[in-house]
Amino acid sequence: MDVSNYVYLSALLFTIGAIGVVVRRNAIVIFMCVELMLNAANLAFVTFSRIHGNLSGQVASFFTMVVAACEVVVGLAIIVAIYRSRRSASVDDASLLKR
């Protein structure tokens, strides 16, 4: 199979993630969409690593996973905190700061 298809796939995943962030209301889902985008990047890294025949891309994907994990920690902490005080995980409810 042509390796470039993986690139297309990663682009597709990334796009889905990017659109998801815009269209979904639930903070957790939005956050998962972001994770999807990160994973799309990972896929791209790995694919390119394969194309170029060096390992940098694969290393990068490991780093990304670790960072994504950290992000989860921080993100969930924030989302949970706001859920506790608002009893809602909808990002549209948190819109006091404006104009």
Binding site: A27, A41, S85, L96
Partner: protein, 504 residues
Amino acid sequence: MLTSPKLDYALLAPILIILATAILGVLVEAFIKQALRARLQLTISLAGIVIAFEQLYRVRNQGSSMAAITSVSIDGAGIFLQGTILVLAFVGILLIADQDHFAPQASALPGSIEEAAALESGRAQTEVFPLTLFAVSGMMLFPVATDFITLFVALEVLSLPLYLMAGLSRRRRLLSQEAALKYFLLGAYSSAFFLFGAALLYGYSGSLSLNGLTDAIHGGGGNDVFLLLGIAFVSVGLLFKVGAVPFHSWTPDVYQGAPTPITGFMAAATKAAAFGATMRIFYVGLDAAQWSWKPIISVIAVVTMLFGAIAAISQRDIKRILAFSSIAHAGFLLTAVVSLNQSGLAALLFYSVAYGLATLGAFGVVTLIRDSAGEVSDINRWLGLGKKSPLIAATMSLFLLSFAGIPLTSGFVGKFAIFSAAYESGNIYLVVVGVLASAIAVFFYLRIILMLFFADASNDSVSVVIPPLLTRVAIFLSAIVTILLGLAPSILFDVAQNFAYFIR
């Protein structure tokens, strides 16, 4: 035979010291008893910063060297920016030291019994100090990182603590949490773009390092689509951090919602770090492809300058005004980026110090103006403060004048340096737009001064609290530097010029 990688610990030491101090802070938080914590945390943090700065000073002449197997390049600009970040962090921590701004227990439900109890018993948590230091370490790494992995990691290390810190405000908890949420979601979103862009650039060049990227561009042969999309996506991440239009939307909301000392620290230090990284990526990594990104960044610079200046005019909240002002300043700094010359770099270095300190000072003043419910950031209620406390009003005016770029303040010299760099590079239209944007911006800065001094005090309880010693020191330092750099900019500018170089 495998050899261990040569890491050059001496060069990395400033970052490592900050990281170590941060970890020490976590330990302190865990093991030291409540009553001592705040004071100890503060001492440790400041000491860490001082030691890091001392180490940085020691290696200042060892610029032009790569560390950590070429992942980090300690060159002039890098050292200068690290120094800048340390100084800003130092002043920022002086502001943060006033624990009155922070929720005693950030995890507690706003308005809950636990919160009240924590407040009453003085069992306040002081995690803000280690968080700050983690962020500082990320900020220090960001502008010296030379490959995309390091860049991404640094970006996240600097961002994640900030997301949390934005939610720590003691008063108006909901707003603070909302700010944290917005900052986090959008920040993560932009990091994803950055990462995907990095992946595309890797796809283009087959190397994660900036040097490899340059070589690939010079060599040609790669897929230009990857290059161009990569540039665009990486830019998104960077432009988000610096707060450039159209990736600025988070700025006013987060600035407003976050605890004021954090806003000050974030506005000052993040800008320095992010612009440092931006400069490095564009100068070192993408210089050869400047035909592709220069026009785009120029357009963004123009839009950002004008947008920031115009949008600020109808704002009534001082923190939002300063947020839009920071957007306009991001536009000015982008002008320095597209100059693509050494003067531009020197100007940027100088500007980040001047602007950073003035910003910290300004937010420091904002923390002092309060009523019974906490800070008053609605400037309509600032009317006539000049009568009540002339000194504070005058100091605030000084910072505002510096933002406005009035001569004899540091802001003017910075602006002058940036505009001359832009002019030198032939981007005269950027100078003209910059000048026009400054003219518009002057209006809202002056209006605040006008409200402070020329309007009669409205009959309400707004007053200036007597500043805690450290806040006073922070504001005083910022003010002194703002004036000093206005009167005798050479003391810093010569340094900035000497340090204004990147190595490849």
